[in-house]
């Protein structure tokens, strides 16, 4: 125990003397939490639309006004022909083209039906899909307005209609921030826990001090604990900072028990610290450790359900996510923060992370060798 005290003393001194570590621990998480949720936003706004109105009727005018008034669309071009509108698309000045044919009003009134043409620039798939569906729901809306005006008598009438209304539980306003902030916090804790640890150990390998440590009577577990404990503490500090930022900046305070978040985080950090230790035993330089970290982090984030729902992944990809510890913490974080889940709800995830912790640390301790 006495040995461990000296090691911890040294590690904490070094951490608090290293400006880059301090920046990574304090500045990076706060900045990321403030910036990322604002930019990582699925709401599509400012969809640029070019309109070709061959009809020039009151009906078509009203339709265009309605488009502009909605806030989602920005009318960037009012064109004479399709070719001209296409140029707007080619020059990135329009995402959508809406073509209103001649006799649109006449057909609508006389025949009770008229056709519109919509062309979508599908280079940015998300924007194209959402823009097109916004447009069609807007048009559907407009359609029912017109029907009510034209055939007021049939208002409560013959054609039975299904009207769907819905309520968004737990996140009533469908705020992306409420959804993203807890997830991003998990990613930050993972980075601190695993990759700062591995960089720290590999740095000692690079400088050569690890060789000096290996000729002393320091026990393997002393050295490992000496490296893991400080980063475990730092991970908890980042969690605290993150929760404060979520509260102050976004007004998000966990619906569930904060103690539960800390308890889960405590176990989770042990697991990711084990991962960091493992990376450090298989790499010789900080550069190698960085590359592995980068590769793992990409997969961890993409397959964690942070941005895209795991349920909509192909089955094989869902199987891959079972081996991603980040996935389990993001689930727990969202469940506790947004939904207020209790211990019983997260017990399975806790158990899985515990197993991760045991396996990763055992593997890492076996691969860490004082001699060759």
């Amino acid at each position: 125990m006495k040995t461990l005290r000296f090691i911890l003393e040294k590690e904490f001194r070094q951490i608090f003397r290293d400006p880059s570590i301090l920046r990574m621990i304090f500045v990076m998480p706060i900045l990321q939490l403030i910036v990322l949720p604002i930019v990582a936003n699925y709401e599509v706004k400012n969809v640029k639309i070019a309109v070709i109105d061959h009809d020039h009727s009151p009906v078509s005018k009203r339709m265009i006004n309605k488009l502009e008034a909605g806030g989602y669309f920005k009318l960037t071009g009012y064109c004479v022909g399709y070719q001209e509108a296409l140029q707007y698309v080619e020059q990135e000045q329009a995402d959508l083209i809406l073509e209103i044919p001649t006799h649109f009003e006449r057909d609508l009134v006389k025949e009770g039906a008229a056709k519109l043409f919509v062309a979508v620039n599908a280079i940015n798939g998300v924007k194209a899909g959402l823009g097109a569906s916004y447009l069609s729901s807007l048009l559907r809306d407009y359609n029912s307005d017109i029907r009510m005006e034209s055939f007021p008598a049939t208002k409560f009438s013959q054609t039975p209609q299904l009207i769907v209304t819905y309520a968004n539980w737990y996140n009533p306003f469908m705020s992306y921030k409420l959804f993203m902030v807890p997830g991003i916090l998990v990613v930050l804790i993972t980075m601190i826990g695993s990759f700062l640890t591995s960089l720290n150990i590999v740095k000692e390998k690079e400088i050569g001090t690890i060789e000096q440590i290996n000729v002393t009577p320091i026990k393997k577990y002393h050295f490992i604990l000496g490296k893991l404990i400080p980063f475990w503490v730092l991970g908890m500090i980042v969690l605290t900072l993150g929760l404060i930022v979520a509260r102050v900046v976004y007004g998000i305070s966990p619906v569930g028990n904060i103690g539960l978040l800390y308890a889960f985080s405590a176990v989770y950090l042990v697991a990711v610290l084990g991962l960091g230790l493992l990376v450090s035993t298989i790499t010789q330089t900080q550069q190698q450790a960085m590359l592995i970290a980068f590769f793992l982090m990409m997969i961890f984030i993409m397959m964690s359900g942070l941005y895209t729902s795991i349920d909509s992944m192909p089955y094989w990809a869902q199987v891959v996510t079972w081996f991603n510890p980040v996935r389990y913490f993001i689930e727990v974080m969202r469940m506790v923060v947004i939904k207020g889940s209790g211990f019983a709800d997260i017990a399975i995830n806790l158990g899985i992370i515990f197993i991760f912790g045991v396996l990763l640390n055992t593997w890492a301790i076996i691969s860490y060798k004082k001699r060759s």
Binding site: K2, T3, F6, R13, Q14, D18, V215, T216, P217, R371
Partner: protein
């Protein structure tokens, strides 16, 4: 050398057919020698001759492929952790923490060798006095000149009064005056009963050793006092002895 004349010399390091093989490459090839208590043993050889590998085996950093060796009475293959309590080591690479101060480095290494806080305080004061570094005690090690760092590293390597101290090219890049002072520190330590096992490329330093061995291509080609070797190889200087042996080397140095 009255110490050498003593017939009841205590063996501190003994190696028998000690070998380390990496695949087909035999880095250290069946070396056999003994080092006695209080001796300064020079371990010479060209780059790539296998000195560092041999030293790592003796320190318990590397497991021998064949042969056996004992250091301070413990077997290097099976009791390496016991050896580690009884040796000091100073490597080619700089071994102190640059982002810690002089006293913090002393405190850390003394602490992990199990010295108690009062003893650490006492030793720190004595060491700062001896190295004339009192005014630098709270300076980060990275701010010290190389010669000072090496002297500090040596003092820290022997802070727990080990039976043997291994020095792997301790004076590389250090100026002649500091080198001289460094060797005086080695003499002082050996007078207190510590054995020094030194590798070096400076032949004037080889002359300071009680006995030296010269390794060529993984084998010990010569072993004896500097005077013995000079007469055996008909040479005026150790430099000449070294060149006569090392020129036959087939390995390309690193």
């Amino acid at each position: 050398m009255s110490k050498l004349a003593n017939n009841e010399r205590e063996v501190v390091i003994s190696a028998t057919e000690l070998t380390k093989q990496f695949g087909d490459f035999i880095a250290t090839n069946a070396i056999t020698f003994e080092v006695f208590r209080g001796e300064i043993f020079g371990f010479l050889g060209a780059n790539g001759a296998g000195k560092t590998t041999a030293m790592k085996m003796l320190c318990g950093l590397s497991t021998p492929t064949r042969g056996r060796a004992t250091v301070a009475g413990f077997d290097v293959s099976t009791e390496s952790e016991k050896i580690k309590k009884n040796i000091g080591y100073m490597s080619q690479k700089f071994s102190l923490y640059e982002d810690l101060t002089v006293t913090e480095n002393i405190r850390f290494y003394a602490g992990i060798y199990g010295l108690s806080i009062p003893v650490i305080k006492e030793k720190t004061a004595a060491l700062l006095q001896q190295l004339n570094m009192k005014s630098q005690k709270n300076v980060l090690v990275k701010a010290l000149p190389l010669g000072w760092k090496q002297k500090l590293a040596f003092s820290i390597a022997i802070i727990h009064d080990p039976a043997v101290v291994f020095l792997d090219e301790p004076t590389g890049g250090v100026d002649p005056i500091t080198r001289r002072e460094f060797w005086e520190m080695i003499y002082a330590a050996t007078n207190r009963g510590t054995t020094a096992f030194v590798t070096t490329h400076y032949m004037d330093e080889a002359e300071y050793c009680n006995r030296i061995s010269i390794m060529v291509d993984g084998k010990i080609e010569a072993l004896g006092t500097p005077a013995d070797l000079k007469s055996k190889f008909n040479s005026e200087t150790m430099d000449d002895v070294f060149l006569k042996l090392a020129r036959n080397a087939k390995r390309i140095g690193d």
